[in-house]
Symmetry: C2
Subunit: 137 residues, 2 copies
């Protein structure tokens, strides 16, 4: 990852081997399987894009929004919106419903709101203000 030059953040490791086999075995047996780590990493990978984060933040703020509104809100093109929304759908992060000739998106579950909120708190930012999705609030 290019953002972290080697010289700035040096490797830090044990200079002498100091494994505590009992502790290591105890921790290892309580870890979820490798498939779970892989699946979790995939979820974070879907979130690891500023455009997709922006779409999710827009849905956190606006409740249900159609693709046209999502494009207007995020500044992304409709094509970029549709592409990223597809990735978010595949990651079960958003869902959609079709109404006539329009498509409306919402967040798939409450976990996503929490994921973003916690991420923002970690970075020292406030989470988005709560809204009802009503255009007047």
């Amino acid at each position: 990852m290019k953002m972290i030059p080697d010289a700035v953040v040096p490797l830090e490791r044990c200079e002498v081997e100091c494994v505590e086999p009992e502790k290591a075995a105890s921790v290892r047996e309580r870890l979820p399987g490798e498939a779970v780590s892989q699946e979790l990493a995939e979820t974070f990978r879907v979130l690891a894009d500023a455009g997709r984060v922006r779409l999710i933040l827009a849905l956190l703020e606006g409740g249900e929004l159609c693709v046209c509104d999502l494009a207007a809100v995020t500044g992304l093109s409709q094509t970029a919106c549709s592409h990223n929304l597809r990735l978010l759908r595949a990651g079960r992060i958003v869902r959609y419903r079709r109404s006539g000739r329009n498509v409306f998106y919402t967040l798939d579950d409450a976990h996503i709101r929490l994921l973003l909120d916690v991420g923002l708190q970690h970075l020292g930012h406030e989470g988005p203000r709560r809204s009802t999705g009503n255009r007047n609030d």
Copy 2:
């Protein structure tokens, strides 16, 4: 992202333009700035790797662990551990202390535990069981 074939998850978009300008403006003005979306995406990018997820899960389980123990627990080489721990440090996800010739890592803040727990819940898995980091618990 290769995991999502185009044929399986089609693009879904509005067939007719239906922007609600007031709603879009209202949502847009409440969104965090683009720099925040970028920063949040970077945090998720650091988490978007199965090896790094495994290191974090090990620290969630084991409390403070040295690099040798982290390698034994995760099955990663010490070099891979050190490399990934450096990326996690740069993302303020773990921190370390040096003790003699060994280096011990812990999670940087409680948000990370929550991020992983919420991610696991989103995927329908239980979070790791809580432990005190004591080798006997």
